[in-house]
């Protein structure tokens, strides 16, 4: 990632013509070759940009970015105020359900918040139909499989039921009981869970994260 703060003007020619008069701007050249021109405002959208594949040809006081479609971005630089380049490496991408993954992580660190005396055996405990979120042991040494969801609905109970069936086939774990943990559990999911002897536990995300420090609760 190369960042250049410069006083510049920009001309685009292609499907139409556009001109940015002289001003101080941020020029961003990314590792994939794309070039974008930002002003000091708005959250994300550049004033002008050229996505890859494109070619940047630098000459003193003048950058010319062109692509195979014949579009050209000409940046005329009057003065460079700052320039920095940094290798960012691969990005892990956006985690669309980060709360659920974080809940699992927090509960793995503190399984006792689900039920007193639980100790973690393993996160993502493998079964032949996929990993169950947490496998724990209760104070009596019995195995407890825990499925963690942000919203507790029937699908999650069904999923945990399938894991319990598979885990019960393992003589080292049998009998395995289940805990269905979520920030909020729908009444229908509770009914099905109760019918299958699965314990439902609603968890407080803020509390687990320690964001309600100082706000003591009765239970």
């Amino acid at each position: 990632m190369r960042l250049v703060i410069a006083t510049c003007s920009v001309d685009y020619t292609g499907r139409l013509s556009a001109h940015l008069p002289t001003a101080t701007r941020l020029l961003m050249v990314k590792a994939d070759g794309s070039v974008s021109v930002h002003s000091d405002g708005k959250a994300y959208k550049p004033l002008n940009w050229m996505t890859e594949p494109c070619t940047l040809v630098e000459a003193p006081g003048r950058w010319v970015v062109s692509n195979p479609k014949g579009e050209t971005l000409t940046i005329t630089i009057d003065e460079v105020h700052a320039e920095v380049a940094h290798e960012l490496g691969d990005d892990p991408g956006l985690q669309k359900d980060g709360v659920e993954a974080h809940l699992q992580e927090l509960l793995a660190a503190n399984p006792g918040s689900l039920e007193a005396g639980l100790t973690l055996v393993r996160r993502e405990y493998p079964t032949d139909i996929g990993p169950v979120d947490l496998l724990c042991r209760d104070p009596e040494g019995r195995a407890v499989a825990i499925e963690v969801k942000r919203r507790g609905e029937i699908d999650g109970v069904e999923q945990l039921t399938r894991y319990l069936e598979r885990l019960d086939l393992d003589g080292r774990l049998r009998p395995v009981r289940g805990i269905f943990a979520a920030q909020q559990i729908k009444p229908q999911a509770r009914v099905i869970a109760a019918a299958r002897n699965i314990t439902c536990v609603e968890v407080d995300y803020d509390h687990l994260r320690g964001l309600d420090l100082g706000r003591l609760t009765l239970f």
Partner: protein, 373 residues
């Protein structure tokens, strides 16, 4: 359908039933309407969002029997804006063949589109045997308890008020996990059989409290069904679905005894807390109470705004210490105590404290302190 009645009668009926009308009708537009039914000289107005239903009965001058479902808020606003005096409501066919509701009074005339009456949900009649409670006692109990229920839907159980049979009487309990209110109504044991308990949404009981607050004396008729509860008072029937689920085991939260006891004037404490709370500009700033034999000192400290302190005369027996509370929750608890003086029992600065009246054990407000450095 055609009727004629005084504007104020109609405003009362529409305003009361309209409180149950769905704010956002979602998939069922008809729920934004109120159902008006005329049978002889009898008008019933019903509003519902499927969780809460309010039906108001009024005597009117009915000309033509019939049913119409009209936009609740619009019709209420129209009727409320009319000149005082007689109002006529009459249904008729529009040019497009749909049914309209015509509202006329004096020189004003409105024609309003309606919802198909057949789309309005069929509401079950109140089930179960009726039992009677004194309205005044129930209203006071609701005032004391409903305030402690949670307003957050993320924990539906805590949005309800537990009604349970207790020692031959009726017990009401609510908690949002930061405070817990318990009120016993002795002698109201016929409502529930021993061991029976139901969880009624606090929103419904808040509406019931409003209704009872505007009624002088009288009784409340309660019918409990398997999935709903109906409260009847005067000409109004309020039906709410019950919340399913297990209420927290609140008994274990109430300490058996306390080593420290403060007795303080209710109004003096309320006034002082309200004053120092002016500096608590957000919901997380606590009020600290320094407990001393000669009285208490209230303090609110905020980094951005400054400091407020106030001394209040009080009788205190126990270890000197400072305990902090959410000021809004503290005010809620003190307000709910009906006596001139309030008892505040404490264990230490981090364990639940209890507010109660000086002369009875009917009411208890358990309040969790806030941890302060």
């Amino acid at each position: 359908m055609k009727l004629r009645c005084e504007r104020d009668v109609l405003v009362d009926a529409l305003g009361t039933a309209g409180r149950a009308v769905a704010g956002r009708s979602g998939a069922l537009p008809v729920l934004s309407g109120v159902r008006l039914e005329v049978t002889g000289d009898h008008l019933t107005v019903t509003g519902t969002d499927l969780d809460l239903t309010i039906t108001v009965s009024s005597m009117v001058n009915g000309s033509v029997d019939g049913v119409v479902v009209a936009p609740g808020r619009l019709v209420t606003d129209i009727v409320r804006a009319l000149e005082p005096g007689a109002v006529t409501l009459e249904t008729g066919d529009s040019e497009s063949g749909d049914e309209d509701l015509r509202i006329t009074a004096g020189r004003s005339a409105f024609t309003v589109r309606t919802h198909p009456a057949g789309d309005f949900p069929r509401l079950a009649s109140p089930s179960g045997d009726a039992v009677t409670l004194p309205a005044e006692g129930l209203s006071e109990a609701l005032r004391q308890v409903v305030r402690a229920a949670s307003g957050e839907d993320s924990r539906p159980i805590l949005t309800g008020v537990l009604m349970a049979a207790e020692a031959g009487g009726l017990r009401l309990v609510a908690t949002d996990s930061y405070r817990l209110a318990v009120r016993d109504l002795p002698g109201a044991g016929a409502v529930l059989s021993e061991g029976q308990k139901v969880l009624v949404p606090s929103r419904a009981l808040g509406e019931l409290q409003r209704l009872l607050g505007s009624a002088a004396g009288g009784d409340v008729e309660l019918r409990l069904g398997q999935h709903d509860a109906t409260f009847g008072t005067g000409s109004v029937a309020l039906t709410s679905r019950l919340i399913e689920g297990e209420f927290p085991n609140y008994r274990q939260l109430i300490p058996a005894s306390y080593p420290n006891r403060l007795v303080v004037g209710r109004e003096a404490l309320l006034d002082a807390v309200r004053r120092v709370k002016l500096l608590a500009r957000d919901a997380t700033t606590p009020v600290r109470i320094a407990l001393r034999p000669d009285g208490i000192e209230l303090t609110v400290i905020t980094t951005d705004w400054g400091t407020a302190t106030e001394d209040v005369d009080a009788k205190y027996e126990g270890a000197e210490m400072t305990v902090a509370f959410n000021p809004a929750y503290l005010i809620d608890g003190v307000e709910a105590v009906p006596t001139d003086e309030v008892v505040l029992d404490t264990l230490d600065a981090l364990k639940p404290a209890t507010l109660r009246p000086t002369d009875s054990d009917d009411y208890l407000y358990l309040l969790m302190p806030v941890r302060v450095s």
